[in-house]
């Protein structure tokens, strides 16, 4: 094929790239991973500040720090930001950086599409936050229940920013989904059968299937809302015969898989960290994998458990209740397998391991409180109260965020070549664990004594005062722990210990190459013999089998001959054109048309960039 003419000859020139332009045009999965991680962490901080303001408002009854409208905006943006702009892209940072390394590939299947995903994500995030500049911050909750979002009840552009922002973010997620599914199915090193894939890769694969199958539902929900708001249809307007519950169904058909999109990456990370630091293979790995697949599969059949209070009738309530309880089985099995992994190991208490242990301990609590409101009668008392707020923070903070921090301490040396400080890491962990429980454990109690969600104020005579104050104090302990983490990163980049390729005595392929890895990742593509390929190379299988053969040391001329894709500016240009088009819906239809034509043109140029030049035709 002649296509390689378009690929960068040799790697020296690629490595020499520095500066802003090289980041804007990069198609290297590792750099895109760092871009995702950095942006997501900034949005995590923004979402966290929103949470702190809400906690301050709720610290005492009848508080007037922020008004009703501002508070509603805060919880809407906090939820939207943490789900779409913090946890999902933090996971994406690890998908991007680690997936090719762990499957022994040089990049993802579609490097420019990868770059496009990132820029569309960033454009969507910035678009959403532009609402602060024009004073029309979304205010209908991250779930945006119809018909509160219809023009009659939501005049102005508040909802428009949310609706279009989520559309843009959805495109980014789906494009990344296509890319990673193809990468994982088709780019594995020779010998890496599906059951030899690391569990993190498996969980990534399940997540990406959830993304590509669930996001269309919210896309349609948002399109219908868009028609209601811009073109006078009545999909969600009762006066026109529309049913606001249609929104809830479409939203939760997306929304429940979304919950697993948020938690499965963390489960994958924990499944890598525990074996490394227990120095044992993951206990029951196939069971953990099948459990992950089951969780993903059932995730599409339980959406109505978010709607038990809606009044769907006893038959639907029973069916969705049982389906929901069923999910507890694979989830519980996973937890026991993680404990089984530690059993009989030699457990090294690094910061990464602590965060994984924190994940198991806290996620277990979130899972168990989830079983409570899987029973519809109990749910009727708990839904829309602080009990549910406690529940999903135990899952998404105690689960996802602890898991993601575990991944950061674990893979930081690989990504940046330096070790994060362990002592600061331990301080970070304990502060976060204490702050987290101080903040969210009392919310179980607050919910059980009747405190509803999404209220900006409460009366002083309901017994809610003390534990609200405690929760507020706890939230600032969490903030302190995040400050320790930032200090750790700063310290590490100034004077952190150099990591070397394999600081943890790792088990999987990413530890077989230098830290940080060269542009081409693997000088020679490895051949894989087992799930813990690197461990097999170093120590054998521990049952008398010979160690796997190590790949030969590559020659300099082989490395010089590796072709990597060249940088491209079409992804960012295309992302901008697309955003201009969609933002036009708020400004003028001329802009929609101009933006649309620009988008088409950019797509054409994007598609033709690698097409061989005319000179090569007629060969």
């Amino acid at each position: 094929m002649a296509t390689h003419a378009a690929f960068m000859p040799g790697v020296g020139s690629a490595e020499a790239q520095t500066g802003l332009w090289s980041w804007i045009t990069t198609v290297d999965h590792k750099r895109i991973g760092i871009l995702y991680g950095t942006s997501a962490f900034i949005f995590f901080l923004i979402g966290g500040i929103e949470a702190l303001i809400m906690r301050l408002q709720l610290a005492v009854p009848d508080n007037t720090l922020v008004g009703a409208q501002r508070f509603n905006e805060l919880f809407t943006m906090h939820g939207t930001t943490m789900v779409f702009l913090a946890i999902m892209p933090l996971s994406a940072a690890f998908f991007n950086y680690m997936v090719p390394l762990m499957i022994g590939a040089r990049d993802v299947a579609f490097p420019r599409l990868n770059s496009l995903s990132y820029w569309i994500f960033l454009a969507g995030a910035l678009f959403l936050h532009a609402s602060f500049l024009v004073g029309a911050v979304p205010d209908a909750g991250w779930f945006g229940y119809a018909n509160l979002t219809s023009p009659q009840f939501a005049p102005g552009h508040h909802i428009d920013f949310w609706m279009l922002g989520l559309q843009i973010l959805g495109i980014a997620s789906m494009l990344a989904g296509f890319n990673f599914i193809v990468t994982i199915i088709n780019m594995r090193a020779p010998g890496m059968t599906l059951m030899r894939m690391p569990v993190f890769i498996w969980m990534t694969l399940v997540v990406q299937f959830l993304v590509v199958l669930a996001f269309p539902a919210i896309t349609v929900a948002l399109i219908l809302l868009m028609f209601d708001r811009f073109f006078g249809t009545m999909f969600y307007v009762p006066a026109g015969g529309g049913d606001p519950l249609l929104w809830q169904h479409l939203f939760w058909i997306f929304g429940h898989p979304e919950v697993y999109i948020l938690i499965l990456p963390a489960m994958g990370i924990v499944s890598e960290v525990l074996p490394t630091f227990a120095r044992k293979p993951l206990f029951g790995a196939p069971v953990v994998i099948y459990s992950g697949i089951m969780i993903g599969f059932f995730g599409f059949g339980v959406w109505s458990h978010h709607m038990f209070s809606v009044g769907l009738g006893p038959v639907a309530d029973s069916a969705f209740s049982i389906a929901t309880m069923l999910i507890a089985v694979p989830t519980g099995v996973k937890i026991l397998n993680w404990i089984g992994t530690l059993w009989g190991g030699t457990v090294r208490f690094t910061a990464a391991l602590y965060f994984s242990l924190g994940f198991i301990a806290m996620f277990t609590m979130g899972g168990l409180s989830g079983v409570m409101h899987a029973a519809p009668p109990v749910d009727l008392q708990q839904t829309d109260t602080y009990f549910v707020v406690a529940h999903f923070h135990y899952v998404l903070f105690g689960g996802s965020i602890f898991g993601l921090f575990s991944g950061m301490y674990y893979w930081w040396p690989k990504m940046f070549g330096r070790m994060l400080d362990e002592r600061l890491g331990h301080v970070h962990f304990w502060l976060m664990l204490i702050g987290f429980n101080l903040t969210f454990f009392p919310m179980h109690y607050l919910g059980l004594i009747g405190m509803p969600r999404r209220i900006y104020t409460y009366a002083p005579d309901l017994g809610w005062n003390f534990w609200n104050l405690v929760a507020t104090i706890g939230s600032f302990v969490i903030a302190l722990s995040i400050a320790v983490f930032i200090a750790n990163v700063w310290k590490t980049h100034r004077s952190g210990a150099v990591a070397g390729p394999d600081p943890w005595d790792g088990r999987t392929l990413e530890w077989a190459i230098p830290s940080p890895p060269p542009v081409y990742n693997f000088a020679a593509i490895p051949t894989v013999h087992g799930r813990d390929e690197l461990w097999l190379q170093k120590h054998g299988d521990g049952h008398g089998g010979a160690p796997s053969p190590r790949p030969p040391v590559p020659r300099a001329e082989d490395i010089a001959a590796i072709h990597m894709p060249p940088p491209s500016y079409w992804p960012i240009v295309l992302a901008i054109a697309m955003t201009v088009m969609l933002a036009g819906l708020l400004i003028s239809y001329t802009q929609v048309v101009v933006g649309g034509l620009a988008t088409l043109y950019c797509m054409y140029r994007f598609a033709m960039e690698y097409h061989r030049p005319a000179a090569e035709a007629h060969s």
Binding site: M1, L213, P554
Partner: protein, 207 residues
């Protein structure tokens, strides 16, 4: 990108084969298109579901069988089916490196696609002008126009794609080596065709 299958140990000095072909032997782009189509199934599934959920729930305005022009839409279905056949022929010729005929079939596919879109424009105009059924008239109007409109937009996108391929072929920039690109466009085209069959059956034919 360099596929991992490019070499077990050692040199990748001369890329021995297409970097788009992965470990499984499948083409990355083709696999990606299949997954996109799976995702798009969910998209149309949600739209068709919305239409069915609101079937018969309109408060006013004409109903589906007051306005549907079944002969016209049957013709549309036939046109789109025929275009799928042309697409198969186009791919066949391009795989054989018969670019001249391949380009002709590509153009024919695109033109039949345009014919379909033209029929839809006519149908929409008829609904609006003769039956006063507009996008915002009733739930039926809204869910019908949004569903079929998005399908029409898919067809239009396909037509643009086919015309670009046709232009490439005419300029001598498309030959048997690009058969996969044509095949992927074909996958998309057949999918859009199948979605129309579903819409035609569920929306137009079932009373």
């Amino acid at each position: 990108m360099s596929g991992p299958a490019a070499g077990g140990h050692g040199a990748v000095a001369v890329a021995p084969h297409d970097p788009n072909i992965g470990t499984t032997g499948l083409d990355n782009r083709k696999l990606g298109m299949w997954i996109f189509l799976g995702s798009d199934c969910m998209f149309f599934g949600a739209l068709i579901g919305t239409y069915l959920a609101y079937k018969g729930k309109s408060l006013s305005g004409p109903g589906p069988h007051d306005v549907f022009n079944i002969p016209l839409t049957s013709l549309s279905a036939a046109v789109l089916l025929a275009s799928s056949l042309f697409m198969v022929l186009a791919l066949h010729d391009i795989q054989r490196n018969d670019i001249k005929h391949g380009a002709r079939w590509l153009l024919a596919t695109a033109l039949f696609g345009l014919w379909f879109v033209g029929n839809q424009v006519y149908e929409f105009a008829e609904f609006v002008i003769y039956y006063d059924l507009k996008l915002w008239t009733s739930l039926f109007g809204s869910s019908f126009f949004v569903l079929t409109g998005f399908h029409g937009a898919h067809v239009t996108g396909g037509v643009i794609w086919l015309l670009l391929l046709w232009r490439l072929a005419k300029r001598g920039l498309l030959d048997a080596r690009d058969a996969t690109k044509v095949e992927i466009a074909g996958l998309y085209w057949h999918f859009v065709d199948i979605v129309w069959i579903a819409i035609f059956t569920v929306i137009y034919l079932i009373p």
